[in-house]
């Protein structure tokens, strides 16, 4: 098809043949159209569906209800999100002498803190995952048993994280923190709706000024 037509040179003594009529159709407009459509669909189509981060909020509880118990927190960590993507954290309950530390959203910041605090659970889950991978395909009873263990381990985890934020924290900050929890497999965390406590506010303001 892409051949080179020969002729023209030499071969003078040959018979004259009737010229064969080409049956070729010019396809250029067709190609133009096809590519136009192609470009249109490539540009307008939404390919990847967006991903979602699931957030589950507890039922609203009445604080005056005697049946509502305040959870006992042994290994507590409080994270405070503030303006300009700054992030602070402290352990346990807040007292006058508590040191509030600053960190950031990078891999060596918040993630390191979380991995350190959540080490027991991370290691336990790792072991269980290895166990899971050894189970032969189709052995659902064993698989369920391991899954139950995973659930038990996450329920037993004593690390409880409170996420507090002031009025300047952005939505992106919250999603970033939740994402870090997902990565470091933190089992228990709460996003606190109330404003910062006065002492917290005072300490954070001092930090922000310095």
């Amino acid at each position: 098809m892409a051949e080179i037509q020969q002729g023209g040179g030499g071969n003078d003594g040959g018979k004259k043949r009737a010229k064969k009529q080409s049956t070729r159709v010019d396809m250029t407009p067709l190609v133009d159209l096809a590519f136009l459509l192609l470009t249109f669909f490539v540009l307008t189509s939404t390919f990847s569906k967006p991903k979602v981060l699931r957030m589950i909020f507890p039922e609203k509880l009445d604080k005056n209800d005697p049946l509502v118990k305040q959870p006992e927190v042994k290994n507590g960590l409080t994270i405070i999100l503030t303006a300009n993507n700054r992030i602070f954290h402290y352990s346990g309950g807040l007292k006058n002498e508590t040191q509030i530390e600053e960190t950031d959203y990078t891999k060596n910041g918040l993630r390191k803190v979380l991995i350190e605090r959540n080490r027991p659970l991370i290691e336990e889950l790792k072991l269980l995952q290895e166990e899971m991978s050894k189970i032969p395909e189709g052995d659902t009873a064993k698989k369920n048993a391991v899954e139950r263990k995973v659930k038990e381990a996450t329920n037993k985890s004593n690390l409880v994280i409170l996420v507090k934020h002031d009025k300047d924290a952005t939505y992106e900050n919250i999603i970033d923190v939740m994402d870090e929890f997902l990565i470091t497999q933190v089992a228990k965390y709460f996003i606190v709706e109330e404003d910062l406590a006065p002492l917290e506010k005072k300490k954070i303001d001092e930090k922000l000024k310095s």
């Binding site: 002729g7 991903k51 699931r54 957030m55 970033d176």
Partner: protein, 225 residues
């Protein structure tokens, strides 16, 4: 000396395989693409490493950085029913069934009930230029349950449940397997730089309507090792 004549040739190229390929791709994109509904605001959601897919059917709430909210229900039949309930609840002048269906098809809206009819009457181009103020909501604790946003959530929850039951029964009648994944879930798409306080206010309103689970729409980010 005889001149060397270069053979004349037409550089004809066989384009058939190329055309084949081009049309194959066109067909592929035509069949796989779903068109994006025109959105009244362009939001840039934050990214996360989660791999959860967005549910097939959602009650979408969009929040922009100024705190305006826009709502949409991906199931147009359910949306039309919710619109009807909304009009009743706020005693707005009724709309014809046809207008309600049309309204359900225009994508996310951030309008007060009283603007519905006017919005349907507009031409498509006019609609794009119309500044929507957002679905009204009130953050005062005593008024959480009075706002239009609350009723959007409330009626959607009821209609979503009805729709689910209805389809379940239909599937039973026809002896077909019932696709449970079509249940309408609540998805929130908020701008990265929106204040979390604003998002929290919206979530508080929705929680009043006994919605507990939210799918926060995020962009994709590569997972860490």
């Amino acid at each position: 000396m005889p001149k060397i004549k270069m053979p004349r040739s037409t550089p004809a190229l066989d384009m058939t395989p190329m055309v084949d390929l081009a049309f194959l791709l066109v067909t592929f994109f035509m069949l796989t693409s779903s068109f994006r509904a025109p959105e009244p605001v362009i939001l840039d959601p934050p990214s996360s490493t989660t791999e959860l897919q967005i549910p097939k059917q959602v009650f979408l709430i969009m929040i922009d950085e100024e705190g305006r909210t826009f709502v949409d229900i991906t199931n147009n039949a359910v949306k039309a029913k919710v619109v009807k309930q909304m009009l009743n609840q706020f005693k707005a002048p009724g709309m014809t069934e046809e207008d309600m269906k049309k309204f359900a098809g225009v994508g996310p809206v951030g309008l007060s009930v009283r603007e519905f009819q006017g919005f349907v009457d507009m031409e498509a181009g006019e609609r794009n230029g119309y500044t929507q103020k957002g679905v009204p909501y009130d953050t005062a604790a005593s008024k959480l349950k009075n706002s239009e946003l609350y009723y959007w959530a409330y009626f959607t929850k009821i209609e979503a449940h009805n729709d689910y039951k209805q389809r379940e029964e239909e599937a039973k009648l026809r002896n077909m397997e019932f696709d449970k994944s079509n249940y309408i879930q609540v998805a929130v798409k908020a701008a990265s730089n929106a204040k979390y306080n604003t998002v929290q206010h919206v979530i508080q309103v929705l929680r009043e309507a006994r919605i507990k689970e939210f799918q926060m729409i995020t962009g994709l980010e590569s997972a860490p090792e």
